[in-house]
Structures are given as C-alpha cells and as structure tokens.
C-alpha cells in the first residue's frame, strides 16, 4: 500500500521546481498549511514557527501568504500558510490560491488543521485535499474547546478512517505542536507512508461516468495504480493530469465530459459530505457532559436579542471610543511636548552649533522633522489604545455578532454586515479600516467597504472638527450651551458621514459595482477567551506600527514640500503665497479659501497636520504678528488665538462649517490611498475611492455655500 500511495504523486513536479530555483532557499522540505477559516490555522502556524502573525477570530484572515521555517533535528522545513477555505472548488480567489498551491506547488507534506468541534464540515475539505495528495498530516486542533462543548474525537479512529496521521492539538496552549512537527517529519522523510481514504460513493450517475473514464485509463495504462483518481481528475479537466495522459484517454474523457450532469458539483459535494458524516460518526462522540453551563448560548441570547443587542453594542463601542479619546489626551500632549516643544528647538540649536546651512536645517528640521513629529504625537496614542481594544473584542468573538446584528441595515444598501466593523475601524484610521476589509470575502461587498471607508471620520480629523466646531459653531449658542452645541456639531458631522456611507454604498451597488460577484456568508465562531498579551503585541505590530510607519513615510516628504513652498518663491513672494492666491477664487466659491485648499493639497499624507499647515499658510500670506517660528514652519496656538487670527483673515461661520464638511468629504490621505492600492491592486478602484469623496466634498460645500449666501 505504501508504495502505491507513493506513486500516486504527480510525476516529478519537484524537479521542475528545483530547476526554477524555488527550493534553493536553504530548506529540505516544503510544507503547506491548509484548513477551513477560523480553525486556529494561524495559531498553529505561529506555534510551529514561532513567528508572530495576527490571528483574529475571523474567517479569511490570511490573505497575503505567510511563510515561516522550523527544524526537526537537522532537517529544515519551510512552511507556507494557505488561505483558509471551505473547499477547493476554486469558486473564490482564496480557494483558487489554495487549490493551485496544493496541485501545482507540490508541497512535500500538507498539514491540514481541523476544528475538532466541527468535524463534519472540516472533513469536507480534508477529503478534497486527500483526493489531490496523500502526503497529509492532520492537526486536530481545538481539542480543549471540544472538551468544553462535550465533543470527544478519537484521533486514532480518525487516523484509521482517513488513512493519514492525526495529531490532537490545542495550539493556543501549545499542546500537541511537538508531536505535529514529529509527524510532519516522519511523513516528509518517508517513515510513515499515508494511505488516504478516497470517496467511493458518489451518486450512481456520477459513479457510472467515473467508471467509464477509469476503464479507458486502465485499458491504456494498465500499470497505473490510481486509475479512479485519475478518472476523477480528468472529469474535473485537471490540466496537470491531462498532460500525462495518452490521446486515447483524453478523447474518452472528453466524450464522457459531455454527459456530465449540470449539477455535477452538487453531486460531488453531496458525496463528500455523506462520506464526511460517516467518518465523523465513527470517530467522534457527541453529547457528553458539558463542562459548566452553555456560556455561548446564554451570551448570544443577550448580545443578539432585539431588546438588549443594540444597547449593549452601542455601550460597548461607546466605551471603546471613550477610552480612546480620553486616554489619548495625556500621552498625546506629552509626546507633543517632548517632540515639538522641546525636541525641535533642541535640534535647531544643535544644527546651529554645528553650522548647518539654514536651508538644510530648514528642510530637515522645520520641514521633515516637524511634520513627522506632529503625525506621531497626534496619531500614535489613540491608535495604540483603540486597536488593542478592538482586537480584544475581535479575539473574543464579539465582532461577528455586531456584523450579525447590523447586517439587516447593510443588506438594504447592498453591503455586508461586516462593513459595520471596517467602518468602526475607520474611525480609528481609514488605512487600518481598508486593511480590515479583508474579513469580507465577497468581492463586491469588499469593494464597497473599501471605497466608503473614508466616510468614517478618522482619528486624524477629529482635532480639525473639534476646533472648528468650538470656534465657529459653539459661539453661536449662549456660552452655557457652547460646549454642548459644538460637541453636537461634531457628532452631527460624524453621523452625516455614516449616512453618506450608506447612500454611496446604495448608489455603488446599483451602478459601478453591479457586475461584481457577491456571496454572503457570516460564520459566528464560538466565544474564545482573548489572550491579553498576544493581542497587545499583535495589534501593536500589525496595525498600529505598520500604519504609523506608512504615515511617517508619507509625512516626511510632505514636510519638506511644505517648507520649500513656504521659503522658495519668485517675484518677492513665496510659492505658497502664489498658490494661495491662485486657489482663492475656487475656495471662496465653495465657502472655503485658498489657504484651506492648498493645505489639503500639501498635507495629503496626514489629516493630522491640516490645522498646523493652515496656520502656517495664513501667517505666511498675511505676515501677521503670529508668524511664529518662521516661513514654512508648522505651529499650533491655543484655540482663542487661532480664532482671533483666522477671523482677522476673513474666516466666517460659513468657512468653519465648510471646513468641517470638507474635512469629512475629501480624498483619503495618501497612506490610505496607498493601502487601497495595495489591497485592490486596481488603478480603477483606487481612483474611484480617491476621487469620489473629493467630488462629493466640492459639490456639498458648493451647494451649502450658495444656500447659505442666499439665506443670509
């Protein structure tokens, strides 16, 4: 049997890969990690390799392929993580990637991670993988959870049923990982030769067709041991197998394929599930005593009931936002004090003492350093608080319930319930929100979520909103109510953003995105105790630092540009002054002014530096007494001084209101644009996501300005 299964491998793909140099990277065996979404595949990956990779309580987390290495003795293994999929039918991009990697990437061993609590469903994928390759090791994960739920799976029985090694594991606790490495090693080195089970009880019509092709294969190649498998692959038009077949077999298979029933795939799925159910019934015992009470069901009753579901959701998200805003104030102020108030003068002093030419220290310190410092001090603290909190809720399994509860709302505009989460993420940072859309596995709904994420008022825009609201809106109310009114104005703009998000989603599904494929699915995973330290670590690395790094990369050159346009010019005026004058008519037409438009143009990397840029440009063009540290140098004043300065330069209530609207409705920052490009790899959708909000912003501001002028 052992030699039989060894020969079922497709002929010598390994050699071609060696020639291509794929295996020249200092390892002995290539291992692929596959499994359903949400079975703890990434946790197994981390446990095997020691590499930290973010694992959320979500399907479809692994979009970009992660790679790691581990050794067993002197043998070196390279591990690639395939996307989590429910099957290998290649109906989605993830499935295509997973199938092609197993079929053409020819891993030496495939580790299949199974969820012990959902054995039947996981066996569906297992049986499909076993059709392709016999070199499989099963990692029966979540054994601890199964015990909690009163499910017992007998690994040995399962191994006997499947014909491949089965290693029980609880990857979260590190249990079973050593045994898994050992099993992989034994299969890779040929100590164990698996003899996988293959499904033999498809519907009679299908079996008849398989038998016909199998007959042709046997007649042409009597020495070939796996004729049934070859026949099934030929019915699936598997190119790799076709290439190894003589023309007579191909002709026979081609003739039979004309008679495949239209619901061939239905029949195959049925056959697979029938086999899966039988194997599961033999290998598992259900209905054992549960440990403790049914925690999940009780919690779900509270969290998804119409009476308590929404209030609990609003309360929970409210706490997260409150903690973020309240908690970020102090560290933000400290960072600003350290980096800007003390660090900047100190660096300037240093530059002067070493005799650095003024223009170099201008570009480096006043431009690049200051812009970067500004972005870091405003951006880092809220993100470092918001993302871990959000990730905790995600790891616990609450966020899928939010998507579940809100899907009714999102369905009506053609979007996916999970967009509620990417939208929330957008309130922290739009770039992170765009990355988070990976959890939406339907192409159309994911594009909608990406394009509309910018309508979530991100953390970098809150300072602008709060300042404008208190300077220009709050003052319209009696002093006692001023605070309340300005807070109301900011909340109003935020809600307007959500409203526009829904409206845009609705329009997009009916116009540009009509033809995109759509398929809804939302799995509600069991609640799992979140791991605090791991969450803190991964959310800081994966989300906060990556986003911050991208922002810095974009902010630094912008700082240089801002300094240069403030200091280089012609005709006795700086470039900035020329540009402000050029933009002014357009700006005034839509209720803004040239300074604001230029600020949004040069401060495209980060919304955080809009206000400092506006102040700098205002001082520059008027040469007012507040001209501060010098041309092209960003600065901040207290709110009262800003108000006086802006009003002196012609700002009115309309300007403030228009700026609030434009801050909501303008192009995403360059970090987000770059992220959209990274995620979609499509110039078209990147352009749409960039231009749509800015066009909306111009139109809205224009109409508001005209109506305002007619009314007053």
């Amino acid at each position: 049997m052992a030699t039989t299964t060894m020969r079922t491998r497709l002929p010598r793909q390994d050699e071609s890969l060696v020639q291509l140099g794929v295996r020249s990277g200092g390892f002995d065996h290539l291992i692929a990690l596959a499994g359903n979404p949400n079975v703890g595949k990434s946790t197994v990956f981390n446990a095997l390799t020691g590499l930290r990779q973010h694992t959320g309580n979500w399907p479809g987390k692994t979009v970009t392929r992660a790679e790691g290495r581990f050794n067993v003795g002197a043998t070196r293994y390279r591990l690639i993580d395939l996307p989590g999929t429910y099957s290998l039918q290649a109906a989605s991009t993830d499935e295509e990637v997973a199938r092609d990697s197993l079929l053409f990437g020819a891993p030496d061993v495939t580790v299949l991670v199974l969820d012990a609590t959902r054995l039947e469903r996981n066996l569906n994928l297992t049986l499909q993988v076993l059709e392709i390759t016999p070199h499989v090791v099963i990692c029966l994960n979540l054994m601890d959870e199964a015990r909690r739920l009163g499910v017992a799976v007998d690994p040995e029985k399962l191994a006997a049923e499947l014909g491949v090694p089965v290693v029980p594991a609880s990857a979260r606790r590190g249990e079973g990982i050593d045994a898994l490495r050992q099993a992989v090693h034994e299969v890779a080195t040929g100590v164990i030769a698996p003899a996988p089970t293959r499904v033999r009880n498809f519907a009679p019509e299908v079996e008849k067709l398989i038998a016909e092709v199998e007959g042709a294969v046997r007649a042409a190649m009597p020495e070939r041991p796996n004729s049934r498998w070859v026949a099934l692959r030929l019915l699936n038009a598997d190119e790799r197998v076709e290439q190894t077949m003589p023309p007579a077999v191909l002709q026979a298979a081609s003739a039979v394929r004309w008679r495949l029933p239209a619901d061939f795939h239905d029949r195959i799925a049925e056959g697979l599930y029938a086999a899966a159910a039988m194997i599961a019934a033999r290998a598992q015992k259900t209905g054992l005593a549960k440990v403790g009470f049914d925690f999940d069901r009780t919690l779900d009753r509270w969290l998804t009931s119409p009476l308590t579901g929404f209030p609990l959701m609003v309360a929970m998200l409210g706490v997260v936002f409150w903690l973020t805003i309240a908690g970020a104030n102090v560290p933000s102020a400290m960072l600003a004090d350290l980096l800007i108030d003390q660090g900047h003068p100190w660096l300037q002093g240093l530059a002067a003492s070493v005799g650095l030419p003024l223009w170099i220290s201008g570009i480096l310190l006043d431009g690049i350093y200051l812009a970067t410092a500004w972005v870091v001090s405003v951006m880092l603290p809220p993100m470092a608080i918001f993302f871990p909190l959000f990730t905790l809720l995600e790891d616990f399994g609450y966020l899928p319930r939010v998507a579940f509860n809100l899907d009714g709302l999102f369905r009506r505009v053609g979007a996916h319930g999970k967009q509620a989460l990417t939208m929330c993420m957008g309130f922290g940072c739009n770039a992170a929100g765009v990355v988070a859309t990976r959890v939406i596995d339907s192409p159309r709904e994911r594009l909608i979520a990406i394009i509309t994420n910018n309508f979530s008022l991100c953390n970098g825009r809150w300072p602008t909103q709060i300042l404008m609201a208190s300077l220009f809106i709050g003052v319209l109310a009696p002093p006692a109510l001023a605070g309340l009114v300005s807070a109301g104005a900011v909340v109003g703009v935020t809600l307007l953003g959500i409203l526009i998000m829904f409206g845009t989603s609705w329009v997009l599904t009916r116009t540009m995105l009509r033809g995109e494929a759509t398929s809804f699915s939302l799995e509600l995973p069991p609640y799992r105790p979140p791991r605090l330290l791991q969450t803190l670590y991964t959310s800081l690395i994966d989300r906060t630092l990556i986003v911050l790094w991208r922002a810095i990369v974009f902010a630094a050159p912008a700082g240089a540009v801002i300094w240069v346009i403030g200091n280089v010019g012609w005709g006795g005026e700086s470039t900035a002054a020329h540009l402000v004058r050029a933009f002014d008519p357009l700006g005034v037409l839509i209720g803004l002014n040239g300074v604001i438009l230029l600020a949004y143009l040069v401060a495209i990397p980060a919304n955080e530096i809009i206000i400092p840029t506006v102040l700098m440009l205002t001082a520059l063009t008027t040469g007012g007494p507040e001209a501060g540290a010098g041309a092209g140098v960003l600065f901040e004043l207290d709110a009262g001084a800003i108000g006086t300065m802006l009003r002196a330069n012609g700002w009115t209530t309309l300007t403030g209101l228009s700026l609030m609207l434009f801050s909501l409705l303008h192009n995403p920052c360059s970090t987000t644009i770059y992220t959209i490009w990274q995620e979609t790899r499509s110039a078209k959708w990147t352009a749409v996501a960039t231009l749509l909000p800015v066009v909306l912003g111009f139109v809205t501001c224009f109409v508001v300005a005209q109506v305002w002028r007619i009314a007053t």
Binding site: R121, A262, P306, P526
Partner: protein, 287 residues
C-alpha cells in the same frame, strides 16, 4: 463674488449635463461605448455568426438577408461579406454566400467565446441572467483566442453554458453538429434538480423554519447559482443535511443556523433557496 443664485443655476445645468452623460446604461457615454464596440471586427464576426446559423439550409445566404439581419445598409453588408471572402472564410455561390470549412471553424470559436463568457458571467459575477447574453455578445469580439483558452482553464473547462448549450472545445469539438443546435433561449438551471423542485411544489424553504425548529435539506433551488451555490454546498447544505434555526439577529434578518456543527448566519433571501423537509424530530443538539 459670483452671485450665489447664478452659481447654483449654472451648477444645476452642469450637474444635469454630467448625469446625462454618465448615467448607467442609458447615458450618452454608455451609448457611445456600445456604438464604438460595434466595430468592424464585431460586424464581420456577427456576419460570420449569421451565416453559420443560416447555412443549415442548402441554399446560400443572400446579401439582403445579411443586411436585414444586422440592420445595416446593403453596401456595408456587401463590404463585410467580401471581407469574409478575402479572408477565405466564405465563398460566393448561386447569388449568395456559403461558409468555407475555415469559416465554420472560425464561427465555432466565436460560439465558444460567447458561451464561455456566459458561463463566466453566471458563475463569477453578480449580473442578472437577462444580461448575460447582451454582455457576452459585446465581449466575445474583444477576446483573443489565448484569452479564451485562459478563461476556459480558469473556469475548469466547462462543457455547457448556463442555458445548457454545449460549449465547443478548443479543438472545435461538439457533441452534435453546431447548426443542429437551437439558438439559446431561456434559463434552465441545473436541469435534473429543477425538475424535482417543481415536482415537490410548493416546497417549504428554510425561510419558513421557525427559530428553534429543525428541518432536513431536500434541494437547493435553481435560482441559487454561481458562487452563492458553491458556498452553500461547501458549508454542508446538501440534500439530507439537518439544519436548525438557532437565533434571530437583533434586526430580524439574517438568522443564525446550526449547519453541520457550525453556526452560520444566512440572509432570508438565501434561506429561500434552501428547500427543506420540515422534520418532525425536535430541535436536536447538533454539536
């Protein structure tokens, strides 16, 4: 400063004009694009297709028939036919035109392109069934033969289009002679199951299942197709699977169902695709 009333008026005019241009499907831009797509290549290929469909009759096809079918003036039709002749795809005979063997092969590739595209549109996009033909009719003229083969490989070398019509293989292989096949007409999806669906009528679906109850899947309805059907099958929604409705979301729709041990939220529209046999057995613990 510009008079706000005047500015608004200009804006309204401008916005109306822009919308008239970009409005989906009926806007000027869409019309122009359609017009441009009917390029010379498209017209020539349409002529070829017309010839192959009519050449089952022994009589050759007359110039007037081509002009009439394609709704183009006679001289234009003449030019198109002459082009086919020059390319060796048709030859004039008995006051009309007949296809050569090469012409027949070329027409077969066009049919292949069209039906593969329909398969693609049905399986991989969200377009409605009544749009497949129209879109494929435009796109078939833009694909090179390498692109067609790549598309076929990506779709797993399908043999039938979503209407149940056979797709010629790259070698031009068909189960029956092409001209004996009818023009594609209606949507008939998965034929065998559709028949059984009407037999059981009026079937109860998962959408009728009250929360707390369990039913057994009898079949998926034909309206459930493409990625949506695949996904449901992969989740274990196959005939015989017991499904229990476990909980309603706070907004009422979707509902979470216990399917093969997993808790999966399905929208009402999806639940309607799943015909069930309301089992008499009480809600069972399926975990």
């Amino acid at each position: 400063m510009t008079d706000p009333r005047l500015a608004l008026a200009w804006f309204t005019v401008g916005a109306a004009a822009t919308l008239a241009v970009v409005w989906p499907r009926t806007g000027l831009a869409a019309r122009l694009r359609r017009r441009l797509r009917l390029s010379e290549r498209a017209r020539t290929e349409d002529t070829l297709k017309y010839l192959v469909h009519r050449s089952s009759d022994e009589r050759p096809v007359h110039l007037d028939a081509v002009a009439g079918a394609l709704a183009i003036p006679r001289p234009f039709a003449h030019r198109l036919l002459e082009r086919l002749v020059t390319a060796g795809l048709a030859h004039p005979s008995d006051h009309g035109y007949r296809l050569t063997d090469d012409g027949r092969a070329a027409a077969l590739q066009l049919v292949r392109s069209h039906r593969l595209l329909e398969r693609f549109l049905a399986d991989r996009t969200g377009l409605a069934p009544d749009e497949w033909h129209e879109v494929a009719e435009e796109e078939e003229h833009r694909l090179s033969s390498a692109e067609i083969d790549a598309l076929a490989a990506r779709l797993g070398q399908p043999r039938f289009d979503p209407h149940g019509e056979p797709i010629p293989t790259a070698q031009g292989e068909l189960p029956v002679p092409l001209d004996a096949l009818p023009e594609p007409v209606s949507l008939s999806l998965p034929a065998s199951r559709a028949a059984s669906a009407t037999a059981i009528a009026p079937a109860r679906t998962l959408a009728d299942l009250p929360v707390g109850a369990t039913g057994r899947v009898t079949h998926l309805t034909p309206e459930c197709r493409g990625p949506q059907r695949r996904r449901l099958l992969d989740l274990g929604v196959v005939p015989g699977t017991p499904i229990s409705a476990e909980m309603r979301s706070a907004s009422g729709d979707p509902i979470a169902y216990r399917i093969r041990g997993a808790l999966v939220a399905l929208r009402r529209q999806q639940a309607r695709w799943i015909a069930i046999d309301p089992a008499t057995e009480p809600a069972i613990e399926t975990r």
